[in-house]
Amino acid sequence: MVITLNGEEETVKGPITLFELLAEKRLKPESVVVELNLDIIDKDKLHDIKIRERDVIEILRFVGGG
């Protein structure tokens, strides 16, 4: 299925949870924050939520800034 991940269209093999998506991207849940269709997802919900066709997902982390 096709999703929008950090602004880019991407095809992922489904069904897959948000937690599994992070694992696929080699990202640790504790080091990022996930937004699904503009809703912030609690870290303990990442296991429960399955990605759906056309979902818009943002994965963010802290970087250096002033």
Binding site: L5, I40, L60, R61, F62, G64, G65, G66
Partner: protein
């Protein structure tokens, strides 16, 4: 002397806030924090770059540090609110530096949108430190909106030009019942020292430290300058006179008849 800065229910003894942007390597950050003695550190929130093994800045920041994420990239209040909520969800506390910028040339903050975002986020339990032009009216509105401190700029971001807005900052220091943290434009330790002599509660420095040939030594220099300026302010500086006043007693014995 028992002198501390209190913001959002936390007490700090160090009055230099340090930014973590623009360093040649994030590996320098622990040494910068050490040399500056900073207890408040700013960070930004960005999309993870899926194509590169991007570093996680958090691993370089000790746990006792108060993180101050900014909303850089926000062009209006609702974008700032969205970034603030994401930053809080990332699990690093409820402090937020509101930075709403829609002007790409001078990077000057939008006061009206900043007040709106401050009001929403303060009601939502955030400790809000808004970055503004040193505008007395906007600052008063920020007090009503629930800001925890006010962060006026000395000069445009990253210019290292010092306290170009000195007179306006002084008005905020004199009139606003919140800590005034001078942010942006401070280019040299002497600029920071002057802000502290004027009665600023703290300074936030990033570019001036990060762009020095030796950022660690510059972090120490800023820390010393801020302590000196604070001590000078607390000591009650002497009056400025137009004409000379002798420091040594003029006994006049050489000309005694």
């Amino acid at each position: 002397m028992d002198d501390y800065l209190e913001i959002g229910g936390r007490k700090f003894t160090n009055r230099l806030f340090t930014g973590t942007g623009k360093y040649p390597s994030d590996e320098l950050i622990p040494d910068i924090i050490n040399a500056s003695g900073s207890e408040v550190i700013t960070v930004a929130l960005r999309r993870v770059d899926m194509d590169s093994e991007t570093d996680n800045v958090m691993k370089h920041i000790p746990e006792h540090i108060q993180l101050l994420p900014n909303t850089s990239g926000a062009r209006n209040a609702s974008e700032a609110v969205r970034i603030a909520k994401l930053a809080r969800a990332a699990g690093c506390g409820n402090w937020i530096k509101i930075e709403v910028i829609s002007d790409n040339k001078y990077l000057l903050p939008d006061g009206h949108e900043t007040v709106k975002a401050t009001e929403i986020l303060a009601k939502d339990g955030f400790v809000v430190l808004p970055y503004i032009n040193p505008d007395f009216i906007i600052a008063k509105q920020l007090v009503s909106a629930g800001a925890a401190a006010v962060m006026p700029l000395g000069a445009p971001i990253g210019t290292n030009r010092g306290l170009q807005t000195r007179e306006m900052i002084q008005i905020l220091i004199d009139e606003i019942p919140l800590p005034i943290v001078v942010d942006a434009g401070i280019g040299k330790p002497s600029h920071a020292c002057e802000a502290m002599e004027m009665g600023a509660a703290a300074c936030l420095v990033n570019t001036a430290i990060a762009s020095a040939d030796n950022p660690v030594v510059m972090a120490r220099a800023f820390s010393n300058a801020i302590k000196a300026g604070r001590d000078a302010y607390l000591s009650g500086m002497g009056v400025v006179h137009q004409l000379a006043r002798a420091s040594s007693p003029l006994t006049g014995f050489l000309r005694d008849a």
